[in-house]
């Protein structure tokens, strides 16, 4: 069975500092990977996705992620965070590419401080 692991439940960081949110997946087949963001009291919003092609994927709000097949990782990065980036970030994987098999990680709370 496929699983998604987000090792850090909380990541505090100062504004304008870089950040990396870690995600590892386990799957015996090819997998499609996603990062979603959830702002307080809102639904999830897609940040970026990897389906195929270049392993470096750029998303909205200056975020990017790198697919590393050998390490089964898909870490999310931003070179300089803002207060407005404070939110819950979810990594998700899908062996089929379709949303109906999406497995989510447990989420990482990014807290940006002044």
């Amino acid at each position: 069975a496929q699983s998604v692991t987000q090792l850090d439940s909380q990541v505090p960081v100062f504004e304008e500092a870089p950040v990396e949110l870690r995600c590892n997946y386990s799957s015996s087949v090819s997998v499609y990977l996603f990062w979603y963001v959830q702002y307080p009291n809102q639904g999830l919003q897609l940040l970026l996705k990897y389906l195929s092609g270049s392993t470096l994927v750029k998303g909205i709000n200056g975020f990017e992620a790198e697919f590393n097949k050998s390490q089964t990782s898909f870490h999310l990065r931003k070179p300089s965070v803002h207060i407005s980036d404070t939110a819950e970030y979810f990594c998700a994987a899908d062996p089929t590419g379709g949303g109906n098999k999406l497995t989510f990680g447990t989420g990482t709370q990014l807290k940006v401080e002044l």
Binding site: G43, L46, E88, A92, N100
Partner: protein
């Protein structure tokens, strides 16, 4: 206009009651979903419908019954509510089943007392 809208946003009820949550999407998507987010923010799919046809039914108690009157609506009815049903329920939709991009509603927070 809200793309995926759910009502009600908050619902507080007693054990044993029956309640419904409604969802509508105005994106013209073919596929709609219900997800449950527990108190630890863990998200798990419950149901998925494609063009009014049920395509995913995870191991959810049969007290939960989804209904899709048309492809723009997917409602969730819950019978005999239990304490463990307390959670945030998210409706979502996608253009087709092969993009992985889901559009989520704002969630309906259900509290069972």
């Amino acid at each position: 206009d809200t793309a995926v809208s759910q009502t009600p946003k908050y619902l507080v009820t007693q054990m044993g009651n029956d309640k419904s949550i409604k969802c509508e999407q105005n994106l013209g998507h073919d596929t709609m979903y219900w997800y449950k987010q527990d108190s630890k923010k863990f998200l798990k799919i419950m149901f998925s419908y494609n063009n009014k046809e049920l395509i995913i039914n995870e191991t959810v108690p049969n007290r939960f019954s989804p209904k899709s009157p048309d492809k723009a609506h997917l409602n969730l009815h819950i019978n005999s509510l239990e304490l463990g049903d307390s959670a945030v329920y998210f409706c979502a939709s996608s253009q087709n089943r092969n993009t992985g991009e889901l559009f989520f509603g704002e969630g309906s927070r259900l509290t069972v007392l």
